[in-house]
């Protein structure tokens, strides 16, 4: 069985093609193409501009994916698209494109939950069977574990996502958004070494990031570190933190919070495996910290690289095809998208 996955819930437009061999051998990635809408430093991506980007690239990407995979339209069994959660306008653009292809080619549609896509792709790539999942990206922060046909949310952010906190701080510092603001913060953090005290806001298995963002934005302003054209590693006064120190402290603080809530969820469900998915999951410092925690519990960590961590089309294809095989299809009439779509709303028919 061959499926196309189309993802565009945020500023990444991804088209992927997956093969699930009929002999039951492991699924294979046939194509994984992506194009990212990058906004200028100091700015975030706006829904209407992002949607316009997706509309103008989607046909090119689908063609390229088919070419990369070396498959023709008649080989394709289903078209999977992101139903939500995400930004409304970009989601709509991709849903319209998916509907168009479905009508044009006469293929079935499958609407996929974006978060479940991340989880299923992570499980496939790392081979972890039943891990506690930390899903961290620009729009989502959740600690998830599987239990009786649902991916249950054990902990989550009470306000903004962890990636949103990083992205917005990158804006404050006018750090480049290319390839991703979080990536550039990570590089800058490697040059910092002074730990600045920030709020540490864990509540049970939930956490909160908006106060931390306000605090570090305030620090950047009071030390004159915001805006463009500033030196990253020095400050006119040696006692003051540098831009690199702020990035370092922000990462240390918020990643400690994430590892703490993940550990709590692991203790709660008695699991020894952790899987990190989502764009922030690429961060090597986060992976390191999680690795130390898992090691101390006698467990192990599974993480993937940017091809699979960052939003992509194959994860939508993977989750969609698992559902399609159990008989799920999304009729044209119901092929809507939604900005709010909780991970635990999905009935996971394909797992025991």
């Amino acid at each position: 069985m061959i499926g196309i996955g189309m993802e565009g819930s945020a500023n990444k437009l991804g088209v992927g093609i997956m093969l699930h061999p009929n002999d039951g051998s492991p699924p294979r990635v046939l194509a994984n193409v992506r194009h990212t809408y990058v906004s200028p430093p100091g700015e975030g991506f706006l829904p209407k501009d992002t949607a316009r980007h997706h509309r103008s690239w989607v046909v090119k990407l689908v063609k390229k994916a088919l070419r990369d995979a070396g498959v023709s339209v008649k080989d394709v069994d289903c078209i999977c698209y992101t139903k939500g959660p995400g930004m409304g306008a970009p989601l709509q653009s991709v849903a319209v494109a998916a509907r168009m292809l479905s009508l044009l080619w006469g293929k079935e549609l499958v609407g996929v939950n974006h978060c479940v896509g991340h989880i299923e792709m992570g499980r496939l790539i790392t081979g972890s069977t039943n891990p506690v999942v930390l899903y961290v990206s620009g729009g989502n922060t959740q600690v998830i574990a599987y239990s009786s046909q649902r991916y249950r949310i054990f902990g989550e952010t009470l306000d903004i996502a962890v990636g949103n906190c990083l992205d917005r701080f990158a804006r404050t510092l006018h750090i480049s958004n290319d390839p991703a603001p979080g990536y550039n913060i990570e590089q800058l953090a490697k040059k910092g070494n002074k730990l600045i005290e920030l709020p540490y806001t864990v509540k049970g298995m939930d956490c909160s990031f908006s106060g931390i963002l306000a605090a570090i934005d305030g620090l950047a302003a009071s030390h004159g570190l915001g805006g463009q054209g500033k030196d990253d590693e020095s400050n006119d006064d040696d006692d003051k933190p540098t831009r690199a120190d702020l990035c370092f402290s922000l990462q240390e603080n918020i990643f400690s919070m994430l590892v703490e809530i993940t550990e709590r969820a692991m203790a709660h469900v008695g699991s020894k495996e952790v899987l990190i998915v989502g764009g922030v999951g690429c961060n090597e410092r986060l992976q390191d910290m999680m690795g130390i925690m898992a090691r101390d519990r006698g467990g192990s960590i599974h993480a993937t690289d940017e091809r699979f961590c960052i939003d992509n089309g194959i994860m939508i294809a993977q989750a969609g095809m698992l559902a399609y095989k159990t008989g799920l299809q999304t009729p044209l009439k119901e092929s809507t998208c939604t900005q709010r779509f909780r991970t635990d709303d999905v009935f996971v028919k394909w797992r025991d």
Binding site: N140, A161, S256, A267, I292, R297, Q339
Partner: protein, 278 residues
């Protein structure tokens, strides 16, 4: 996969005979049973090991903050006469471990030594009762009523204790039936079983104040009650219909209950999980 090895005990517990025995390992803390002053006085030792994944400065700050927070809540509650374990000793930065820990790549951590509470946690008592009820389906109406009234009475006593807690200006932060104990009263051999049906006599004691804090807000108190209600609903479905009894007990023990219970209505409506944005 490496075999799990608990972190080293802080001094002086490295020299205790017999050595402390590990009871449970949570995410934050390890709970040991040990003795205090005399070999026949049992005590509960809670160790918050240092977390090597955290920056050392942050780790020290959090560990110290949390152990002191827990100790302050407990000592206040003891003064106010709420049934909680008394504190015997604590240290937020154990000494004499640095060298050994440096070798093993981990710092000490903090510890809290508390009075030992005999008995069973309420979760176990209720699980046994539910199991017993399930096995005895053909009991008469009268006996069933009797059984239910025992549970009602237990829930009312739990309500009293939680009311006392909130009256003292402390919120627990993690009120579940695993953090409530039933201590047999000194007078009789109360926690005995009658063919698998557990006794529900005894004193209700609150334990594990790892997430507790001082608060005078209805919101925090209401969330405490909500978490407890959910714990009853998910873990002990048979007892859920009697939760009102607990709230009744709460009301009797705590004069500010009216506004807290009003707030609880709101918290219930809201749920802890709202629909996610973005």
């Amino acid at each position: 996969m490496t075999e799990y090895k608990p972190p080293p005990l802080p001094s002086p517990f490295t020299h205790t005979t017999p050595p402390p025995t590990l009871l449970t390992q949570g995410a934050e803390a390890h709970l040991y049973k040990t003795t205090y002053l005399t070999p026949t006085t049992p005590a509960a030792l809670k160790i918050r090991p240092s977390k090597p994944y955290r920056h050392p400065i942050l780790d020290r700050r959090l560990t110290r903050q949390r152990i002191l927070q827990e100790a302050r809540c407990l000592s206040k509650l003891v003064r106010e006469g709420v049934s909680v374990p008394a504190i015997l000793a604590l240290d937020w930065e154990p000494q004499g471990q640095e060298e050994k820990d440096a070798l093993e790549g981990r710092a000490g951590g903090a510890w809290l030594l508390m009075e030992w509470v005999e008995g069973l946690v309420v979760r176990v008592v209720l699980e046994r009762w539910e199991g017993w009820m399930k096995r005895n389906t053909q009991m008469g109406e009268e006996q069933r009523k009797g059984e239910e009234s025992r549970v009602r009475y237990l829930l009312r006593r739990i309500g009293h204790v939680v009311g006392g807690l909130h009256k003292a200006g402390v919120v627990h932060g993690d009120l579940t039936t695993s953090n409530l104990m039933l201590r047999p009263t000194a007078a009789g051999s109360s926690v005995e079983e009658d063919g698998g049906n557990p006794s529900m006599e005894g004193e209700v004691v609150l334990i594990d104040f790892g997430l507790a804090g001082h608060s005078n807000q209805d919101e925090d108190r209401a969330v405490d009650l909500y978490v407890l209600e959910r714990a009853f609903g998910s873990t002990h479905p048979r007892t859920e219909p009697f939760f009102d009894e607990l709230l009744q007990g709460y009301h009797e023990a705590y004069r500010g209950a009216v506004s807290t219970l009003k707030r609880l209505e709101e918290v219930r409506m809201r749920g802890r999980k709202r629909s996610m944005i973005g």
